[in-house]
Amino acid sequence: MRGVWTVARKDLQSELRSKEAINASVSFALVILLIFSFAFEPTADETRAISGGLLWIAFAFAGALILNRSFARELQNDCLEAVIASPVAGWELFLGKAFGSFLLLFGVELICLPVFGIFYGINLTKTLWPLLLILVLGTWALTALGVTFAALTVNIRLRELMLPLLLYPALSPALMASMTLTTSLLTTGSFGTNNQPWIRLLIGFDVIFTSLALALIEFVLVL
């Protein structure tokens, strides 16, 4: 497991020093929230009905920026070959990068949440802990699948286009579940009895796709 923390720490440190992706991500997410407020002319009720969707759109798009960099940062100076040839196992590399990206994206989301609450007049503190739970589950789906596809597309031309093109359809079940549950939390204050399947879907998605990624990552890394 040490390899996982080593890789995660390396990614986090290099990112926190330059702050390129974080700044870009936070700015992008805030701009999206701003543009949505022009598009929807929100009274509090209307926004609450679409709040889950808005938040997760912003997070998904901002996440793509972070995920792109997770493997792209290794392209210079043949770092990718060095990392693959190192004693770090494939699964450790995957989990390390996934954790690193997860923490970065989760940080971005935590910054965006109060801004969202202020812009749209929604009180987030009433349902904070369930909301954070959904954020964790949904963000992990995003980063686990995203890092896998980032590894797949790192050496391809049009990489920045292919990653979102492949990632968002594959991520849709998790995105839908996250959006539905977030909206339910912000409008009714609870998950709602009808939404139990969505929670199961989200957890199942996380488990299945993390396992699938771990199983297949060796094939992807020797490209």
């Binding site: 896998t148 797949l152 050496n155 391809i156 492949l166 594959a170 079940p173 796709f209 297949l216 094939f219």
Partner: protein, 231 residues
């Protein structure tokens, strides 16, 4: 006739059988069968809408197996088969979506709705479309094969969701009729016959496409040979 390879004979055989059966079945579906009580003539589209989906998913399953096998033994012929199966399957998915939309426009009054069945099928279409786009973006044969194989495995995770959608959720899309016996007896033979017909035609086109993949591989080999000797 003797100069045709086995595969070509298979393509013509499957294609001809499929077409003949299709024509016979079309006669039955369009002219012999009576109308459904509430829907009028448009209900007959089910004989094309559902078989297209079944054959599409079957081809995706075949591609899944081929992709997994490719990752195991790296035989490029398997990658060629997966690519062919997915491309043809994607066309059948498109047919399914288009026929569904036309039926929906008549019966529901709207072209589209975001219920679980339609949404997941559309996502399936996007995923495999992305697979085809991805293949076009990679020039190196080995890399393309590996990336495609992994993507095919991930993409197939959506297919069970599409299939089970009308059983897991209450959807606007009609509920299951096949296993609940909701399909009238005289409809069953034409329906399953059309599934068989589509399967034959789908296989024929896949083999055609597979031929092209083999030609492409031969081409790449020859090019490498030419460049090696030119130096």
């Amino acid at each position: 006739m003797s100069t045709m390879s086995t595969r070509q004979k298979l393509v013509y055989g499957l294609g001809a059988t499929g077409t003949l059966l299709l024509i016979w079945n079309l006669y039955r579906v369009l002219l012999v069968l009576p109308d459904e009580m509430q829907q009028g003539a448009i209900y007959r589209i089910i004989y094309f809408h559902v078989p297209a989906a079944f054959v599409g998913w079957t081809l995706f399953l075949a591609a899944l197996v081929a992709s997994a096998l490719y990752l195991w033994n790296k035989n490029l012929a398997l990658d060629g088969f997966a690519a062919s199966a997915i491309e043809v399957g994607w066309v059948f998915c498109s047919i399914n979506l288009v026929t569904g939309m036309i039926w929906a426009r008549i019966i529901w009054g709207i072209w589209w709705t975001w219920d679980p069945r339609l949404t997941s099928m559309f996502i399936c279409w996007l995923l495999y479309g992305g697979y085809l786009v991805l293949r076009g973006a990679i020039d190196d044969a080995g890399q393309r094969a590996t990336v495609s194989a992994v993507l095919a495995i991930f993409a197939f995770a959506d297919v069970p969701i599409v299939f089970m959608a009308i059983r897991w959720w209450r959807t606007q899309h009609p509920s299951p009729v096949l296993e609940t016996g909701g399909l009238a007896p005289e409809m069953r033979l034409p329906f399953w016959l059309n599934v068989f017909v589509f399967l034959l035609i789908g296989l024929a086109i896949t083999l055609l496409r597979l031929d092209q993949e083999d030609t492409k591989r031969e081409l790449e080999g020859l090019r490498r040979h030419a460049h090696a000797h030119a130096i």
